[in-house]
Structures are given as structure tokens and as C-alpha cells.
């Protein structure tokens, strides 16, 4: 039974309000802080982030380590294996592969970032307007989206590339010609959901313009899905750039991208496999990192959205 002490009269005195252990609610964390904590706890995403940061560092600092550059040919030292002078060897024109790989990585990433940026600008504007205004505007824009979505993107990109002068910007433009469509679909769906919320109504009663409501109130609330979509559109752009180079529609020499290097590597695959291996490895690491980061972002920013 109980100890006698507890049966004493004073134990049955009422508790003052302050003495009660009332429930203390855990302090609410902000959306982004919370997302960062979730992102950090995802091992794969963290590895992806570290890999990409390392890779960027090397891409910028690495070329300073030897005296060569990406375009000087030296026909006396073609197809050399890696050495103290040429870390990754040389290609069939005697160009230093170390320099070329990092130059190519920067070009590939640049194209991907420009393409992703264009995707966001076009996709968010299109999707935002379509979802926000609804009605007839939305119906027409939806048709356009549906048609754009059902065109095989590789066909359009290839045709555009036959038309455009190959260069960083034209390639990025060609990639985002179809790349904005998924973004527009995501943004439209989110805006449709958000626009009926009270705070939009409140803003409207206070006389905010459509532009203001859409870009100051709605779009910021769609940032999560937008960021996720961007993270995935970067590896996809890198893939398509490499693909274009591979079928001969990419950048022109002496310029290089990872795709160009991989496709050059193929010509000498049987004899000098290292010329394919290094650019392919860097290409795969970039793709892998962005996909891992994308997965982590998806879990962190939008736990409900999994597909």
C-alpha cells in the first residue's frame, strides 16, 4: 500500500493553478527551418549536397593546378595516360583532359542553370496566370499545356537545334522550350488549390491588384514545389545537353561540355577507355548529386508529395 506520508491531510489540499504541470507546447519551427532539419537527416541528400559543392570547388580551383588550358592542341603528346603533368591524360589532339573535364563540367552546369532559370520564369508565369485567372483563360492555356506535354520533347529539341547556332544560350533555350511545361503544370495545380484560401480573399478585399496577389501572396507559397521541380530539371537539362552533343548537335570545338567529351571519348573507346571514363564519371556524379538532392528536397519540403 501507499506510504503513510501520502495519506496525510495536507496532501489533499487543492493545487494552485501555477503548480499544475500544464502542457507546454513545443515551440513551432518555421517551414524552412523544419525543412532544413528534415533535409539534413536524409543521408543521401546530404551526400549529394557535399558532392556537388566539392565538385564545384574543384571545377573552379582545379584548373589552376597545372599550366595547360582546355583548347591548346599539342599533336606530339596525343592520347597520353595520366601523368604528373596531365593528371587525367590527354585526348586525341593532345589537349589536357583535366582542363577539359572541368571546363566541360562548368559549361554543362551553366547550360543547365540557365535552362532551369528559364523553366522557372516561363513555367511559373504561365502556370500562375492559368491557375489564378481560371475560366476561359485557364481553359485555353490548359489546352496549350496539354499539347505541349504530348509532344515528344526530344523531337522538338533536335529540330530547334538544327535551326539554332550551337552555343550555350541557344542550347539552354532549346532545352527550356519544352522544359517549362512540367513546372507550369505544378504551379497551376498549386495555385488552383491556394487561391480559394482566406488570405487571398483578405488581400483582395483590401484592394490588392491581381499582379500583387499572384506574385506577392500566392507564388511565395508555392516555392516548395517549385524548388523541388528545379532540382530535378537540372539533371534533366544536363542529360539532354549531353545527348545533343552526342548526336552531333551540341557545342562546336574548341568549346567543350561533358556531353562533347563523352562523345569524343567514344571514338577512342576501344584504345583509350580513360578518355570516356573521366568525363562520364563527372557527368554521372553531377546527375546523381542533383537527383539525391532532389529526393531530399521533396521529402523535406513537401512530405505529402512523393511522386
Amino acid at each position: 500500500m501507499n506510504t503513510p506520508k501520502k495519506w496525510e491531510k495536507n496532501w489533499f489540499e487543492p493545487l494552485a493553478l501555477s503548480e499544475k504541470n500544464s502542457e507546454v507546447l513545443a515551440p513551432q519551427k518555421g517551414y524552412w527551418k523544419d525543412a532544413w532539419i528534415r533535409f539534413k537527416s536524409n543521408k543521401g541528400a546530404l551526400i549529394g549536397l557535399i558532392l556537388i559543392v566539392l565538385l564545384l570547388l574543384i571545377a573552379f580551383i582545379g584548373p589552376l593546378f597545372n599550366e595547360h588550358n582546355y583548347h591548346s592542341q599539342n599533336l606530339t603528346i596525343t592520347n597520353q595516360e595520366s601523368s604528373g603533368d596531365h593528371y587525367l591524360g590527354t585526348d586525341s589532339l593532345g589537349r589536357d583532359l583535366w582542363q577539359r573535364v572541368w571546363y566541360g563540367a562548368k559549361v554543362s552546369l551553366l547550360i543547365a542553370f540557365i535552362a532551369a532559370f528559364l523553366d522557372v520564369v516561363i513555367g511559373v508565369t504561365f502556370g500562375g496566370i492559368s491557375g489564378y485567372f481560371g475560366g476561359r483563360v485557364d481553359a485555353i492555356m490548359q489546352r496549350i499545356l496539354e499539347i505541349m506535354y504530348s509532344i515528344p520533347n526530344l523531337v522538338i529539341i533536335i529540330l530547334l537545334m538544327m535551326y539554332l547556332e550551337p552555343g550555350v544560350l541557344p542550347i539552354a533555350v532549346a532545352l527550356s522550350f519544352t522544359g517549362w511545361v512540367p513546372m507550369a503544370r505544378i504551379v497551376r495545380a498549386q495555385i488552383l488549390k491556394l487561391k480559394t484560401q482566406e488570405y487571398v480573399l483578405a488581400a483582395r478585399t483590401m484592394g490588392a491588384s491581381h499582379y500583387r496577389i499572384l506574385f506577392k501572396h500566392l507564388i511565395p507559397n508555392v516555392m516548395g514545389p517549385i524548388i523541388i521541380a528545379v532540382t530535378f530539371s537540372i539533371p534533366s537539362a544536363i542529360f539532354f545537353e549531353a545527348f545533343l552533343s552526342f548526336i552531333g548537335l551540341g557545342l562546336r570545338p574548341p568549346s567543350a561540355s561533358l556531353g562533347i567529351l563523352v562523345s569524343d571519348g567514344y571514338r577512342t573507346l576501344q584504345l583509350f577507355p580513360f578518355q570516356l571514363f573521366w568525363p562520364a564519371l563527372v557527368l554521372c556524379i553531377i546527375m546523381l548529386s542533383f537527383n539525391l538532392i532532389g529526393d531530399g528536397m521533396r521529402d523535406a519540403l513537401d512530405p505529402k508529395m512523393k511522386k
Binding site: N2, K6, W7, E8, K9, N10, W11, F12, E13, P14, L15, E19, K20, N21, S22, E23
Partner: protein, 340 residues
């Protein structure tokens, strides 16, 4: 009354990497043959977990039955193998769930969903099972059952879906029906129909029903006995009259007071119990209701109150029952007619 289900000292916890939630902390009760017992309490009080444990439907892990017995027909259900449990589920003990929208498989015809358990437990052929399914739909009051049997859940209204769920549960004439908030997701008028249906079926078949709800109005309609749960424990239990006319636990008082009354002055605010259930990660040593109890005493924080009996059927776990405790008058006016 002969008991059909006896649960004693049941402890269930949920474990994740670094936390352990003690969801059920020593629950004892019995359900008699042909009896309707209501389990009342707010969300998180452990009423659903208790019966999902009885049915062994809680996923293990993360859930773990730490202690206790669930006796049904002389067997301890916590000790049975999964295969043996499958012979009991649906056949001996059936369950209906809160949300008929999500509890039916959207891609399978209603008839086939009812037939499944008939084919499994009564070894009927597909054709016989379908005929029986039509009969069952008729019994639960679904018009033109022979057409309805071919339809998909989304073609049914909310109330009809819950009727279909009941038909599924009744398919093998179970001895015990566990209804987990079967009316919560429904419109008020439909709620009444479903309660009536359950009441009628219960009188016809004589099976026992456990009715889990947080709605005391529903309890008054259907229950013989009531158990009030709070933070993983039964804080008070008794017959319907005892709970409604002579409640002893301050939590029960709060629940009864928070029921809206017809003759209530409209300007008067609805009573509510301030605060929420304590976290069960580190459950308090004393009475879990202390933090929200208007009559809390020092001892309430220190020690869990013992169960005291005020009649053969009425049990309360509250320090106010102790002779040393100050006299506290029940705020529930006894002249009120709660039950007809």
C-alpha cells in the same frame, strides 16, 4: 451475464527510434454476452488502440503489447499466432471503422468486398457468397441490393457505405462487433439511422457490441454500460444510468457538461475542458487529468489514484473518492433527464 471478452491489465506502447509512447497503461474491462458497451474519450485517449489490440490490427512493430491478457472464448488473443487470429477476425469478432469513405477498397465491387469473408470463413462458393451479400445488403437497408452489389464504393453515399461496412462486418454473424466511431464521419440524420440499424441488428442477433465514440449523445442512445477513457486508462466505468446520473470523476463531469443542451441559454457559452491530453511519451506519475482538473490536489500529481467501487458495477479512479479529500459536489444536476 456471461463475459465474452475479458481484458486485464493491458499495456501497449508505440516505439520509434528514440521515443516510446505508452498508449495503453493498464486497462481492465469485460464485455458480457449480448451487451453493448460504449467506450468514451477524446482523441488520443487510447480507445481505438485498445480494440485494435484486441483484434491484433495494430502494426507490430512499432506497437508492442507490453503486458496483459485479452481473453476471448478461453483463449488469450495476445498469444495467438497470426494464422489463428485470421480465423477469429471477421468470423468471431468483426470491426467497423470510422470513415466508410476510406475503409472500403475503391477499386473492388461492394459485393466482392462482402463476399471475401464469406468465402474465407464459411467456405461458400463465389456464387453463394454473392447471393448472401445481396441478402446482407437488404438486411442493412440498402434498396435494390441486387444492383448495388455490383457497384463500386464511390457510387454509394456516405450513409450507404457505412451500411455496406456493417453488412461486411455482419457477414459471418460474429459474436462481438467492435464499432470504432461508426457515425463520426456521417451527417447527423444519417448518424441516427445507423445507430438505429445497429440497435435493431443487435436485438435480433443478440451479439455483443463495443461502441467506441466521443459523442455522449450516441452513447445514451445505444449503450448498456459506459467506460470513460483518458490518457490510456479507464478513469470511470459503470452502467449508463450510473455514468449519466451519478458520475464521479471530474473528467466525466467535464464530458457531460460539454454536451450541448436543448434548454441551454443561447448566450451561455458551451462548456469545454481546457487544455489537452498529456503527452504519453513521459506519462505523469500521478493522475493524468491533474493538469486540467478543477479539483486537483497535491496527491494527484504524485500518485495514480486507486480504483474505488461505489457499486458492484460502478468504478472510479480519482483521489476525490478518498476519505481525506475535500467534499466536492458534482456539477451535474441529478434531476436532468439524460436518458429516456
Amino acid at each position: 451475464m456471461k463475459p465474452i471478452l475479458e481484458v486485464s491489465d493491458l499495456h501497449v506502447s508505440f516505439r520509434s527510434q528514440d521515443t516510446e509512447v505508452k498508449a495503453i497503461r493498464g486497462v481492465d474491462f469485460t464485455v458480457g454476452e449480448g451487451e453493448v458497451v460504449a467506450f468514451v474519450g477524446e482523441s488520443g485517449s487510447g480507445k481505438s488502440v485498445t480494440f485494435q489490440t484486441v483484434m491484433r490490427l495494430i502494426p507490430q512493430p512499432p506497437a508492442k503489447i507490453d503486458k496483459g491478457k485479452v481473453l476471448y472464448g478461453g483463449r488469450d488473443l495476445t498469444k495467438l499466432s497470426e494464422i489463428e487470429m485470421q480465423k477469429i477476425r471477421g468470423k468471431e469478432i468483426a470491426m467497423i471503422f470510422q470513415d466508410p469513405m476510406t475503409s472500403l477498397n475503391p477499386t473492388i465491387r461492394i459485393g466482392n468486398q462482402i463476399s471475401e469473408s464469406l468465402i474465407k470463413h464459411q467456405k461458400l462458393s463465389a456464387k453463394e457468397a454473392k447471393e448472401r451479400a445481396i441478402e446482407l445488403l437488404k438486411i442493412v437497408g440498402i434498396p435494390s441490393p441486387s444492383e448495388r452489389v455490383e457497384q463500386f464504393p464511390h457510387q454509394f453515399s456516405g450513409g450507404m457505405r457505412q451500411r455496406a461496412m456493417i453488412a461486411m462486418a455482419l457477414a459471418c454473424s460474429p459474436k462481438l462487433l467492435i464499432a470504432d466511431e461508426p457515425t463520426t464521419a456521417l451527417d447527423v440524420t444519417i448518424q441516427a439511422q445507423i445507430i438505429d440499424l445497429l440497435k435493431n441488428l443487435q436485438t435480433k442477433t443478440g451479439s455483443s457490441i463495443v461502441f467506441i465514440t466521443h459523442d455522449l449523445g450516441v452513447v445514451a442512445e445505444i449503450a448498456d454500460r459506459v467506460a470513460v477513457m483518458y490518457a490510456g486508462k479507464i478513469v470511470e466505468s459503470g452502467t449508463l444510468d450510473e455514468i449519466f446520473y451519478n458520475p464521479q470523476h471530474p473528467y466525466t463531469w467535464g464530458l457531460l457538461q460539454s454536451m450541448p443542451k436543448l434548454d441551454q441559454n443561447r448566450d451561455q457559452e458551451l462548456a469545454s475542458i481546457p487544455g489537452s491530453c498529456p503527452s504519453l511519451v513521459n506519462p505523469p506519475a500521478g493522475c493524468p487529468f491533474t493538469g486540467r482538473c478543477p479539483h486537483a490536489m497535491k496527491i494527484c500529481q504524485e500518485e495514480m489514484p486507486e480504483v474505488t467501487k461505489s457499486s458492484s458495477s460502478h468504478q472510479v479512479a480519482c483521489w476525490l473518492q478518498h476519505p481525506n479529500a475535500p467534499e466536492v459536489k458534482s456539477p451535474i444536476e441529478p434531476e436532468r433527464r439524460w436518458v429516456d
